[in-house]
Symmetry: C2
Subunit: 334 residues, 2 copies
């Protein structure tokens, strides 16, 4: 299996990206096609003592900055490392593509260069977030700020396939993010989506889920428009930081507390690991004809390596074929 990687995406590129890629090659038995300025990549590899075993290179001289308009991936930045990776994936030079670059550019590039699975209305970003039951997928979190009801149904179908075949959840419970349990709650979007989802055998729909229910494990796939999803995703991060900060000040509150903190050290490490997004890899871009993984912009080597592992799992489990099949069933029953 060959995974294509964007060497120049994210805050810690290229060093951490290349380290993570080298680790993935040695741990997971894959090969890598590394996209970016080849001379610089080679210099960074040798300068940092990173092995280039199992790596091929695809020279792409430019770097697309995160603040660039996403559509520029087709224009001013068509020779960037991220554009090269998308084209390599579309052209069959590898099995999946992993980038820690701009989310917007990844969505646009994947949609327009790699293309969608047949029948998919819009691709969606589905990160895995921690909750009291373990974790859940929140989909979409920003690929589509505005959505139509049919899109939400498809998000549920795609998310279910991922949770089943990658996360090992037998019959994933799909919830619709809303402001009340009754099917009459919410805006027109939620009311119509509820109706579509309720009657479709392609998903195990458990009804509306409120903001309170998400961290408490009410569903395995939480379906929402990209605006609301983006707020929830970032609020999860912010609450985690806020509450960790409160914990920290608790531990510094007095001598006895410091002893307490020492004794709790092991448990706290386990807690941090649970809250650490890098454990889950990156965010899969659901609905694209070939696997595209958006690693977190602040990915270090470990996070990037985990994103590559995730890409490998998606390939090995034919998740995209399974999504296409489930979408067909969903459409037949719509």
């Amino acid at each position: 299996m060959r995974i294509i990687v964007d060497a120049f995406g994210g805050d810690n590129a290229p060093v951490e990206i290349l380290k993570g890629t080298a680790d993935a090659v040695s741990e997971y038995g894959i090969t890598a096609l590394v996209c970016g300025d080849e001379a610089r990549i080679r210099a960074v590899l040798s300068g940092n003592g990173i092995s280039q075993a199992g790596m091929d290179f695809l020279n792409a001289p430019d770097v697309m900055p995160v603040e660039a308009e996403p559509t520029e991936i087709l224009k001013s930045y068509k020779n960037s490392s991220i554009a090269a990776g998308m084209k390599a994936l579309a052209g069959g030079l590898g099995d999946a593509f992993v980038t820690a670059g701009s989310t917007g550019a990844a969505v646009v590039g994947a949609s327009l260069i790699v293309k969608r699975i047949k029948g998919v209305k819009r691709p969606a970003l589905g990160p895995i977030l921690p909750n009291s039951a373990g974790n859940y997928m929140l989909i979409d979190i920003g690929a589509n700020a505005e959505c139509r009801p049919e899109m939400l149904l498809q998000f549920g179908v795609m998310g279910s396939a991922y949770m089943k075949h990658i996360m090992g959840v037998e019959n994933p419970r799909v919830g619709l993010v809303n402001i009340g349990a009754e099917e009459t709650k919410g805006l027109e979007l939620q009311i119509q989506a509820y109706h579509l989802m309720k009657n479709n055998p392609a998903i195990n729909f458990v009804g509306n889920v409120e903001g309170r229910d998400l961290p408490l494990g009410a569903c395995d796939v939480a379906v929402t428009d990209g605006f609301t999803g983006n707020i929830i995703l970032k609020h999860t991060e912010g609450m985690g930081k806020f509450l960790s900060g409160e914990l920290k000040s608790m531990f510094l509150a007095g001598f006895s507390s410091k002893i307490g903190a020492l004794l709790l050290k092991k448990s706290i490490a386990a807690f941090r690991k649970k809250m650490d997004y890098t454990e889950y890899g990156g965010t899969p871009l659901m609905g694209i004809s070939k696997p595209v993984i958006k690693a977190h912009g602040s990915s270090n080597a470990k996070a990037f390596k985990n994103a590559i592992r995730q890409a490998k799992n998606i390939c090995e489990n034919d998740v995209n074929d399974k999504i296409a099949q489930a979408l067909f069933i969903a459409k037949e029953n719509a």
Copy 2:
């Protein structure tokens, strides 16, 4: 000062409501007009040894259930304790009204019986939530699922008046909840609201705030539509519960951890107090011509007492007059 209370609203009515009211009378030097089935109220007072000093009663035989359609406050439940309280406030029988009953009925009743402040497009619910800087107001959280840009500007103006005059924040920073920092981000609602808010001297607008920024203290007033606000409010509750649960299992993880937990006891109590919504009282219904406070449905005596204290503060500081004045300035500069 006389505070009108709904004796039959909330999960713990009437006992906890009456206890909280009695405590407020004795601690804050107010009198209370208690609405509901008078015979039952008197029986509960004497049966529980609760003092009725400082209390008058307004007999209202019915109780409006939370699941009833909010507009029924004007029809089937026009003789309910909550409807009686609204009418008493409108008729000048007291200075403010506090209810732990249905949020929907409180919004409809306040809007149609007590009426809005002149110029207010729509009233809004603005709870105070904890964050790393202390706390902030999130407005709206469900009075209006769908909003227009002018409404968001008014929410910012009303929230600022509250944070300044009740919470003591000198020049409250108003943020617009959005999915990115740039003023071009978001849906049409956010883009237009940004423009209105940016140019209005009635508020100290600090721009867009993302989900991550809210718990980290980026603003004192976070303005949003009621759909998004409701999700954030409940997600705050859910994340608090989830993370407290994780803390608890940390403490039970082993013998050494139990010792750690004992030593940390005091700090944990302080943490819980910070996360406890009952400390802040209830949620003020902003934009109504007289103060209406929606206490949490699960209020105990302490929470209800705090909601009464909050009502008293709003009256003493003439917050409603200040809101009317600020809205006038905002309109002149729109």
